[in-house]
Amino acid sequence: MSDSSTRGGVIGARGRVEIGLVDLFDGSPERDLDFMAEFARATENAGFDGIWMPEHILFFERYDSVYPYPEAPLAANPDVKERHNKVVEGKAQVESAPDQGLLDLFQTAVEVCAATTRLRFGSSVLLLPLRNPRILAREALTVAELTGGRFDLGVGVGWSAEEFAACESDFRTRGRRCEQLVHAVTGAWRGGLDEGRALPVGCRAPRVLVGGHSPAAIRRAGTAADGWYPWNLTPAELADGLRTLEEHVEASGRSRDDLHVIAGFRGVGELSDLPEIVRRYAELGVDGINISLRMTADNYDEVMAEVAQTLGLDGGEAR
């Protein structure tokens, strides 16, 4: 294993910036167990720091809910956003296949980390309001144990009212519930459990990063979590969010060094243009940058190699 801080790659205002890829494992024949291992090793060999996987418990053919991230900053000119999701009756829809699936995040995390030696795995993001915190606290510790501490727990409030209804969770109060659950789970890890309950000992709890860029999400990140994970922001929006985050961090008696900030975006444009947006984010002082490249089972190794090369990552070749 190599120490992240001594590896080469993207250097930002706070030092070396971890570069992660956002992609998915769906249990389809094209993305079977062999694919998972090969993809994970290719990611590691190319010099990336992590794989992050989104979560949806269910998909629907059509949503009344509006997908909240239809626009992504252009790689070549990240001050400008471009819409890339289809719109139905004025409502942006999530990008998904007709029979889209996603494997369970936690089992996938263990599988990916077992196939690699240093790669981290993160949730991008786990839909926290759908969980029973008494069960989640133990699950996350077990993932931390089985991945050798290489798991990051990104959490969010979701956007699909259809999914929340089917998962028996109140959509309107999901923000408040998310905050309560962050406190409940991290409190349980710190030993603040109810009488008679026990959790595994001897394993370090994962980092909890709050996804989203609403004022409430930034407040939760700054006051209750271990980090912030916004998505598809222009550099100016990210700078604003970081300023707000630091205010919350200071108000809660913590230091910016206590938090891990990862800026994620959907890669739009040419791969050769990625250094521009990565540089702009890095200069703002993020600790990590996650990129969704929508790679296929046929092209991922070439895409990874090209991106690694263009960003100057340490890896030789993807495979």
Partner: protein
């Protein structure tokens, strides 16, 4: 009669938990055990052991033949769709070897979310089981019940073969068994969790009462503490038990498995 093992996913051995599980799982398969079970939610919540689903995932990845089971999901505290995905994923990793134990009893405070209450755990659990089975078997799943409703839901992956998992009811008593029969029309498998021989006999009587007949077609599994295995084999055979499962309070070492198998 088949012989299986169940354990808490906790290890006192040197090395990682994953490696301890892998070594034990390989040994269990080599020794001819028929099944490996993770503890139920109720037991896990009262111990410092790790999550049973993730522990069982490690067993799945280290084996090819052995049946895998969860000894007691308390569905009254688990959202159906969330649990359906976890189990379908585990079955995917296991190549279709997963079976599901259901615990219909009152969940208790250590599993309920703070401030939550479940007035009818049996009804809620059965509603959720129906919803999970819809998600596992329907391309566009639809269900409507007092607990959970959805339409047009796309849930993938599904269990291998788009099948319903074999459901083992953990000895819920005659009234609950009758309710299961009314709701589902059948009881395919039944388990007795760490009952002594007299309690096992009473539980089997309750099963016969609920069925109104000999439970010949219902698969019966009896879990006993590992050190009781030698004295339990004859009792199990006399009682018509189909599978006897040795329960360990931690991941067993291969030598302990050989001892149970002997």
């Amino acid at each position: 009669m088949d012989i299986g093992i169940a354990c808490a996913f906790e290890s006192r051995q040197a090395g990682s938990l994953r490696e301890a599980i892998r070594a034990a799982a390989v040994a269990a398969e080599d020794e001819g055990f028929a099944s490996w079970w993770g503890l139920g939610d109720r037991e896990v919540a009262r111990t410092s052991s790790h999550d049973a689903t993730l522990g069982l995932y490690c067993v799945a990845r280290a084996t090819r033949r052995i049946r895998l089971g969860l000894a007691g999901d308390v569905l009254a505290v688990r959202a159906a769709a969330v649990r359906a995905k976890q189990l379908a994923t585990l079955d995917w990793f296991a190549g279709g070897r997963l079976e599901l134990g259901i615990d219909l009893d009152d969940p208790g405070a250590d599993l309920l979310e703070p401030g939550a209450d479940v007035a009818d755990p049996v009804g809620r659990s059965l509603d959720r089981l129906t919803a999970m089975e819809a998600l596992w078997t329907q391309r566009r799943a639809e269900v409507s019940s007092p607990t959970v409703s959805f339409a047009g839901a796309i849930a993938n992956p599904k269990p291998v073969g788009d099948r319903r998992l074999t459901v083992h009811l953990r000895n819920p008593g005659t009234p609950a068994l009758r309710r299961v029969l009314e709701t589902r029309g059948r009881i395919e498998a039944w388990t007795a969790w760490r009952l002594d021989p007299a309690a096992l006999d009473a539980a089997l009587s309750a099963l016969r009462d609920a069925l109104g007949a000999d439970p010949g077609t219902v698969r019966r599994t009896w879990f006993v503490d590992a050190h009781l295995m030698p004295t339990s084999r004859a009792v199990a055979a006399d009682a018509g038990i189909d599978e006897l499962v040795a329960v360990f309070d931690r991941v067993p070492e291969p030598a302990e498995l050989r001892e149970v198998a002997a």
